[in-house]
Assembly symmetry: C2
Homo-oligomer: 193 residues x 2
Amino acid sequence: METHPLLKEIQARHEFSEADFEKLLPLFEERCYKKNEMVFKSGDVVKYVFFILQGCFRQFYINANGIERTIYIMEEGRWTGESLSFMNEVPANMNLQALEDCKVLAMTKPKWEYAIRNIPEYAIYHMKNHHRMIAWLKEQLGAAVTEKPDELYRRLLKERPHLLQRLPQYEIAKYLGITPETLSRVRKRNTRI
Amino acid sequence: METHPLLKEIQARHEFSEADFEKLLPLFEERCYKKNEMVFKSGDVVKYVFFILQGCFRQFYINANGIERTIYIMEEGRWTGESLSFMNEVPANMNLQALEDCKVLAMTKPKWEYAIRNIPEYAIYHMKNHHRMIAWLKEQLGAAVTEKPDELYRRLLKERPHLLQRLPQYEIAKYLGITPETLSRVRKRNTRI
DNA sequence: TTAATTTCTTGATTCAAATCAATGTGCAGG
DNA sequence: CCTGCACATTGATTTGAATCAAGAAATTAA
């Protein structure tokens, strides 16, 4: 008997019983997105919180001049969504796109509120996740501006090497905030054969 | 009778009773920091969460090459700290410094846990705050890389014009991620007389 | 298989901000 | 008042990534 990927993720971060998990799991519905499909766009009110079962998404920001920047790339076994928009029912300022054919578990707001109220350990896990997200975003923000392309690339190579196999270069470039040409040169400079 | 600045901040974001506030307030202790004093450094375990009564702090990141970047500047009426370090008792990867003589309300972890468990509305407010913080950080990250210095400056001028009066130029420059020289030129270009 | 399209690499050029360097300004202390 | 220091401005130069422009490789379709 295999552990469900969602239970696996939760238990990796927080003490969580199978009994609680049996209350939690039925609150989700399964959804699929095709490669390149937009899950939501800036201006939409986000209706779900998502746990990724299969595939890979990118969340990106478009500034006033139409320049876009990928904020993060999330793979199976992680959460995605837009918590402020979801929680307060306000327009999102981010865009979420499937980079592959994807399968997710999606939970609506009423069910999420039910979970928060009735599964205290889920609420705590949820809060812990937010602390991690905030710390990670702050670090990303610091790194994005202080580090040169070569350093950003080596950081990615160290932390998430499989992404470089999984995604085309231009997606990596958008994530690192550089042009594909620059990434190509960076790779050349940083390749040990 | 004046509303306490902390109650004011909480009520601006969430329905919160005076009765709850009377349970909350005694959990804090008052602390002072002198101008330029470090509250915590990267590597420290952060012992408090802070609400700013007076003054102004910057939180900054130092990368592997010793280059620093100010992530945010917080003024009176706002929270600051490092939630992941505080919560999990792990080393912080950020630095917090007073930019002026400051007075804060500080809460230790045991008291914070007491508050979360015993004042449910505080827990909800806290969660809401995190959603806002995450959305704000994502937007900052998007803006930091896609926008040019002139755009970053005009954004700051629009959103927090008083900061430009309050702080020296070199602190603003570190916050925008540009050199003081560039900021000086940007200001010249963008000043209507 | 070839053809067509997409993605990646490489080179030449441009451009914007960092850096380097000097000067100017305003304030604090003697 | 002048002196000294911190901060800000301005100009000259360098630098590194973006942009522009071909090609080469890889993938997909025919």
